[in-house]
Symmetry: C2
Subunit: 194 residues, 2 copies
DNA sequence: TGTTGTTTTGACCACTGGTCAATTAAAGCC
DNA sequence: GGCTTTAATTGACCAGTGGTCAAAACAACA
């Protein structure tokens, strides 16, 4: 009966992303549907497919931002005040904090497998890891083995992947997080130099 | 037209589990549908709901076995030959091996969140972790901090959760796994006693 | 005014988990 | 044997999903 909105209420990529991001705060990838997004934007779900080829593409657009948010977070710590040892502690803790306070985003960034989301997302994740690795090395006096930095990353990832089942916000797991970070840093700081 | 099968081809819980487990080898929880299971069993998908209240219940029935499989695996190592230090190494490696060679099972056992699968599964996971913790302590000369054992577990979990994105079988990640296990054991063996 | 291009609609597809009245086989009983 | 009860199965149905696409309606420009 009434295809096409009047100019004043035309759909934009930004509007869609905004709404998707909003719903994404409370639900995860599988729970946020194209239809629910369309509903809140007062348009048909078909219209979304004019702006994005598929759901994964839409959500990747969101995720991109989050990678740079994470990267900025790490950089902030590095260039901030304090001793290197404490900064390292902080970097680890903030990574966990990010993961637990942006669970559905973290899921898409680091947990969803190849096929489900773009391979672009994979690349972004790799870049993000490299950033992490550089950061860790730059905050450590010794030359760390690459494999040990990787292990540290994986151990952090494990914390997020595990606690997201039980906890909704970082604060609820803060004590455990500190202990875990302590554990990782201890491991790093006592491993043999390259 | 023809409700109820003749006795020879009546459905049993076991048949359903068998088929589900079979499909579960190649696909994950979200990809294996009640209908695809029913199709291969030559019955309607409605019939499955006579034997299981819902999909989660069916898959929990599968997962139960896998928890005991994992537990047995760990026990085997403990009661097997060799030095404690090597056994510990082996336990860690086997945990990873289990995770990467039974990915969809592992997902259900340790990664899917509260609401999606039964809370029964949560309990089973906790029990499994306790078993793990006991095992680790029994293979270690020192009194380990509880939090450190937990960190070790989380670090292992992180490895599985991470590599499952890139790898289909343990063998493809074996070298990396060994390095990671080395890292964890180093951390454990140099932490302060309680 | 007409024509061209862009955006939106809504019907449609094939799928999902789940429900349930109706039907039929088997089992128990006389 | 028949007669009744009970257990299992069907298939239509529901509400939902991601995705497609011809048709319609608006915008912009000639």
């Amino acid at each position: 009966m009434s295809p096409r909105k009047s100019a004043s209420q035309e759909l934009t990529k930004e509007m869609i992303i905004k709404e998707a991001r909003f719903q994404f705060l409370e639900k995860d990838f599988h729970q946020v549907s194209m239809r629910s997004i369309a509903k809140n934007l007062d348009c048909s779900h078909g219209a979304l497919y004019y702006h994005f080829n598929n759901k994964a593409e839409l959500f990747y657009a969101i995720i991109e931002d989050y990678f740079s948010t994470l990267n900025k977070l790490l950089e902030e710590v590095v260039h901030g005040p304090g001793e290197n040892h404490e900064k390292l502690h902080d970097v680890f803790l903030r990574f966990i904090q990010f993961g637990l306070n942006h669970q559905s985003q973290y899921e898409l960034m680091f947990m969803i497998r190849n096929t489900e989301v773009d391979s672009l997302s994979q690349e972004a994740a790799n870049l993000s890891y490299q950033k992490f690795a550089q950061t860790v090395q730059s905050l450590t006096p010794k030359d760390l083995k690459v494999s040990n930095i990787y292990s540290a990353f994986i151990a952090l990832h494990g914390f997020v992947a595990h606690y997201r089942k039980y906890v909704n916000r970082f604060e609820e797991a803060e004590e455990a997080a500190k202990l875990h970070v302590e554990f990782i840093i201890h491991a790093l700081s006592t491993t043999a130099q390259l």
